[in-house]
Amino acid sequence: MALPKYASTTERIWHYTYLVLCGAIFFFLIAPIVVVIPLSFNAEPYFTFTDEMLAFDPEGYSLRWYDSLLTFGMANPDAPRDGSWWADAWANAKWIKAAKSSVIIGVFSTILATCLGTLAALGLSRPEMPYRRAIMAVLISPMIVPIIITATGMFFFYSNPCELLTWFGLSPQCGKLAGTYLGVILAHATLGIPFVIITVTATLVGFDQSLNRAAASLGANPRRTFFRITMPLILPGVISGALFAFVTSFDEVVAVLFIAGPDQQTIPRQMWNGIREQISPAILAVATLLVIFSIALLTTVELLRRRSEKLRGITPH
């Protein structure tokens, strides 16, 4: 943004103040995330920069907190680091177990949310869709309703899902969903759905319906039209929706606190325990890894967005 030639001195001063102010706000946004990274290499169990760190003395830095992520929970952490040590870490280390749970839950809930969400988005973006606004409002609501309310409701429901059937005069016996992978996956899928709907419908706004008609008039059946014409065009939107859903699940802790059992200790749940229990720099090491992970995701989403705009022929703003 350039300053016009006719600007007065006051305006110039004001303009530079404004730029400095914006710089400070950007700093406020990014500094907390960046500051975690060097602190995770602290050789001491403190959350601040030691004198050695400030002097860039290699003594002040160490990988001990990253190492503790591996050894925490292992049966024999002090054994020599050979194949069986790594096997032990893979099977028993708490953070690795948490990562495995997070990935399982994240992947399956994403698949569920993306499939159902994309189908629904296709329906919602048709002009003929009845009650569009009301249905959209219901489908987006998991994002709006406070998570504590959602988690509380799910906690009761998943503990005894068959209670629902008593409303229809049935009294079947069935298991519970709370404390199972399926329960957490269903819960996370529900929370991820609004993001899929929002991103996919946004992609479909620029979608040219005449392409479908052209395909149909050339003799393609609906299925073929979908997979050969619609899908490739909306794919970037679907993938970024899926990534949003994955991140939602990967970062979710309240629903996990309420409905997960001992087997579904995810990374955020483990972090929550760690923060409440004893925030050692090991938490900062996890945080650093997660920041790197989110940078990778952000890059992917940005590339997809640009590709999608190019595909749909929308020039970027």
């Binding site: 943004m1 016009p4 600007a7 404004y18 102010l21 950007f26 406020f28 946004l29 990014i30 907390p32 995330i33 500051v35 975690v36 602190l39 959350f47 601040t48 159902l116 189908l119 629904a120 329906g123 919602l124 003929e128 009845p130 249905i135 489908l139 609501s141 309703v145 406070p146 504590i148 309310i149 509380t152 799910m154 906690f155 009761f156 429901f157 629902l164 269903l186 759905i193 946004a202 395909a215 149909a216 008039s217 393609a220 609906p222 039209t225 970062d251 802790v253 309240v254 309420f258 925030i279 938490i283 900062l284 945080a287 997660l290 920041v291 989110s294 940078i295 995701l297 989403v301 703003h317």
Partner: protein, 432 residues
């Protein structure tokens, strides 16, 4: 997707021709009927695409919340386990002195409940409305478990004189039906006195209204700070050339994509008394080492961390509206003699209002229901209503109370959500 008949195309043709007599399609059907049929089919198809997800969300989300809200008015801890005395209450109008039949019903119910080991549940239910009575039930239960003989009234009074307390009988009467509004009363810091009138609770017990007010006030404050911080940044991003603004946008989007727990942890590290910010202040000589600032485990911590976390939700909608504002309006105002301030206030700012409204409502809605961040950095003065719901869910286990508070919070959020839909439109919700 492929329709043999395109309804819109057909409608255009029909109006262009403007014929006399009913139009017919190629196969001889009346056009109006064919059109209606094809449109109905299109509607059905669209609806079928949405149906699986709608059912999914209804089952995994709407029904559970509905079920939970039912608990705010339903608690059968007393009525289900004390059937005889409940029946006595139903037969006799309020104000009836407990007679021999009532004492007998009470004693036999107590015995049955003690045997079935549900006496604790009964005591807990009455204890909600009248603190200190739980042990009355459990200790009576222990004594009558092996059996109780008449005269019941005298036997019970021998165990504890409090059994004759009229307030106890009034509370038992209220609990003798499974449905009650008492939990909503309690959620508004009110209770019933002996005669059943609604009164405010004692001053030192009032907490919920104050917390609702605090939640509103902190959410408003956080919305305001995100506006103050978000507006200049969004404006800068919207007016910079694309390449530069895309680069700076990363600084907004990275926090948006970073785990909530990571950001909260980061603030804990920064704001601690022995943390980075205090260290910097001491090093700069702004404060003395012995007077480090308390910036966490209080409201300040909640406000700072939540402002940071919610800021992108303000910047993104503002940015997308500001992008579309034509800079020539401001230039025109300037060329007509307006000062830069007037041009901003009269021309530019009004055009940003849709983005501002969207951002502010979204931030406010999200802030009102926040739980994680206040729980970790809020100390005692930075707790919000969500934290109290969680406390009743997990600590005191007064689930009916948690449900009543949740229902009130949910009501507020849904009104705001409706407002958002009316003013902004859910379709306009954008992410990144």
């Amino acid at each position: 997707m492929a329709h043999s008949l395109d309804p819109q195309g057909a409608a255009v043709t029909a109006s262009e021709i403007a014929p006399e007599g009913p139009l017919r399609t190629a196969d001889g059907q009346p056009l109006a009927r064919a059109l209606a049929r094809s449109q109905a089919r299109a509607r059905r198809q669209a609806f079928l695409l949405v149906l699986p997800l709608l059912l999914f969300v209804l089952i995994t989300f709407v029904v559970p919340i509905g079920q939970m809200l039912q608990r705010s008015v339903k608690n059968d801890g007393f009525s289900a386990n004390m059937p005889q005395i409940s029946a006595w209450f139903a037969e006799n109008p309020p104000g009836t002195e407990p007679d021999a039949a009532a004492w007998q019903a009470l004693a036999l119910d107590l015995q049955a409940a003690a045997e079935a080991r549900s006496i604790g549940v009964v005591g807990t239910r009455i204890n909600y409305d009248m603190p200190g009575t739980r042990s009355l039930f459990t200790s009576a239960g222990r004594q009558v478990r092996r059996g109780i003989e008449p005269p019941y009234r005298e036997k019970l009074l021998e165990m504890d004189e409090d059994w004759a307390d009229p307030q106890l009988w009034s509370v038992m009467r209220q609990a003798s039906t499974p449905y009650t509004a008492n939990f909503y009363l309690a959620a508004m810091d009110m209770t019933r006195d002996e005669a059943g009138n609604i009164v405010r609770v004692e001053e030192q017990q009032r907490v919920y209204l104050m917390l609702f007010m605090r939640t509103l006030w902190l959410s408003l404050l956080i919305t305001f700070t995100t506006f103050v911080l978000g507006f200049p940044v969004a404006h800068l991003l919207a007016t910079l050339p694309m390449r530069k603004s895309n680069l700076l946008m990363i600084l907004v989007l990275l926090p948006f994509w970073t785990s909530l727990l990571v950001r909260t942890t980061a603030w804990m590290v920064l704001l601690q008394q022995q943390g980075v910010i205090n260290d910097v202040f001491v090093w700069l000589g702004i404060i003395n080492d012995s007077q480090r600032l308390q910036m966490i485990y209080n409201q300040t911590g909640t406000i700072i961390a939540m402002t940071h976390i919610l800021l992108p939700f303000m910047i993104l909608p503002l940015y997308s509206v500001m992008r579309t504002i034509n800079p020539s309006y401001v230039r025109a105002a300037r060329s007509l003699g307006a000062t830069s301030w007037t041009a901003f206030r009269r021309i530019y700012f009004p055009q940003t209002l849709p983005g501002l409204g969207a951002g502010a409502l979204l931030v406010f809605i999200l802030a009102v229901g926040y739980y994680i961040t206040p729980a970790l950095v809020g100390g005692s003065s930075g707790q919000l209503i969500s934290n109290l719901i969680a406390m009743h869910m997990t600590r005191t286990l007064n689930w009916s109370m948690a449900a009543a508070l949740a229902a009130m919070l949910l009501g507020g959020v849904l009104i705001l959500y409706w407002l958002y839909d009316r003013l902004v439109g859910i379709d306009n919700l954008k992410l990144g």
